[in-house]
């Protein structure tokens, strides 16, 4: 059975009320949905609440899935719509002004080298801070591609964009993030006491 037919069959069984089909759907997409939710919220509680909201939405709208594109793209599309709403609210509330170590800790693999781990934490915090500053249509592409590992085709289907547009936005998103990180790094270097003293005696 092909992937599209498999997806359609799974959705049909879920619509018929088969519990094992719903559990299969949860197992297939639960991790991905939670990952997307976490990358947009950076809080475990918010991500779990958002994941439940996403799966409620999926269940209530199963009859709308027509099987014309992969189920993962449909799931990501619903996830993205709800996550974007939450993301905008968080940005309005300035919740992304400071990214804590606890927020990025679940994203890092443990390491025996504390210095390397600290460096990764710092880079990850800078990455998410920069992401919160760039336009959201660029940020969401970078999150879905680089953090959630979605294929270009899946992102295009989820966001209803041509694949070329997805790649172009990803390229610009990376350039924007790099620029923000560089600016932040430069300002921090100038803000150190040594730099202040040097500037005073210059």
């Amino acid at each position: 059975m092909s992937g599209a037919n498999n997806d359609k069959d799974l959705v049909e069984r879920c619509r018929q009320g088969q519990d094992e089909a719903w559990r299969e759907l949860v197992d297939r997409f639960g991790q991905k949905v939670y990952s997307v939710a976490y990358h947009f919220t950076l809080k475990r509680e918010d991500a779990e609440e958002l994941s439940q909201e996403i799966f409620l939405k999926i269940f209530e709208n199963l009859h709308r899935y027509e099987g014309t594109f992969p189920l993962v793209a449909w799931v990501v599309s619903i996830s993205r719509n709800l996550c974007i709403d939450r993301y905008r609210r968080l940005k309005r509330e300035k919740s992304f002004r400071f990214v804590s170590d606890e927020a990025v800790a679940p994203l890092l693999t443990s390491s025996d080298d504390p210095a390397a781990l600290a460096l990764r934490k710092e880079r990850t915090r800078m990455l998410f801070s920069a992401l919160s500053e760039i336009p959201e249509d660029l940020a969401e592409i970078l999150v879905l591609r680089d953090l959630d590992g979605l294929a270009y085709e899946e992102i295009g289907q989820a966001l209803e964009l041509p694949e070329g547009t997805v790649k172009s936005r990803l390229f610009r998103a990376r350039a924007e993030v790099a620029r923000r990180i560089r600016e932040r790094h430069d300002s921090r270097a100038q803000g150190t006491p040594l730099a202040v003293v040097a500037a005073a005696f210059a």
């Binding site: 719903w22 779990e48 994941s51 439940q52 209530e60 990850t124 990455l127």
Partner: protein
């Protein structure tokens, strides 16, 4: 200096080596390519956040919490019949709290029972009774009425009256005569009076005279009216307008040449 070749190569899916080679030869693209690579490297060591077993269990319980929109339609229909249990009602209520369209549909359908019966207009009862009464009499008709309706009977009566009138009988006169109650002596005088030839000639003569009077009065009347109209037409007739427009201002105030003659004639 700007060059978008690095972006173009990336969008076109060119091999990484080709992108790197262009960046090495193009100073404008070198920085962009370096940024691109660095940010991609920033995310390479990140792993997806692990979802907890508790979340998995919560997600698996979603079908017990709510219903789909199509499932809500069926539950609303059953709820109107009072056939849903508490768990189904809880799922439907939860769904209604989240879905505006289903909430609206449920409120509308449930509101049907809250509607009060409309109060009829004062004339409604009488009109309904009037519309029902002919059916009752029709059902009770018997004999010849069973074959001829009221409208047909009226039409036949008019036709009979017309035939009688054509034959020379005036039903009104007949009825009047029938109602006339003459005294006995008058009735005997009338019965004894014979219709002689002189009476008939006299009657014809009287009718001729009356007709002549009517004709004469009409002729005189029409003739007098026609003569009066003719005289008025002549008196009201105006002189013919001048043939051309006046060519200068001096001729504007002068009366037509034949106006004096008309005035004299009128006088």
């Amino acid at each position: 200096m700007s060059c978008s070749e690095a972006e173009r190569l990336f969008v076109a899916g060119a091999p990484h080596a080709a992108q790197r080679a262009h960046a090495a030869s193009c100073p404008a693209c070198a920085a962009a390519f370096r940024d691109h690579e660095e940010v991609a490297g920033l995310t390479s060591f990140l792993r997806p956040p692990a979802w907890s077993p508790g979340l998995r269990q919560a997600l698996a319980r979603v079908p017990a919490l709510t219903v789909s929109c199509e499932g809500a339609d069926a539950l609303i229909a059953r709820m109107l019949e009072g056939e849903i249990d508490d768990s189904e009602r809880a799922r439907l209520d939860f769904h209604r709290s989240r879905c505006g369209a289903c909430a609206e549909a449920a409120e509308t359908l449930l509101g049907i029972r809250a509607l009060t019966a409309p109060v009829p207009a004062p004339w409604f009862t009488g009109r309904m009774a009037a519309s029902v009464r002919p059916r009752a009499t029709r059902a009770a008709r018997s004999g010849w009425r069973a074959f001829i309706g009221p409208k047909t009977a009226i039409a036949l009566a008019y036709a009979a009256a017309f035939v009688v009138m054509i034959l020379g009988f005036n039903p009104a006169d007949m009825a009047r005569r029938a109602r006339t109650d003459l005294p006995a002596e008058a009735r005997s005088v009338v019965a004894g009076a014979g219709t002689t030839l002189a009476d008939r000639v006299g009657a014809v003569e009287e009718r001729i005279l009356r007709t002549a009077l009517v004709v004469r009065s009409r002729v005189f009347g029409y003739g007098r009216a026609a003569l009066t109209n003719a005289v008025q037409l002549v008196l009201k007739s105006e002189a013919p307008a001048p043939s051309g427009r006046p060519r200068n201002g001096s001729e504007k105030g002068t009366p037509p040449k034949n106006e004096t003659a008309i005035t004299t004639w009128r006088a």
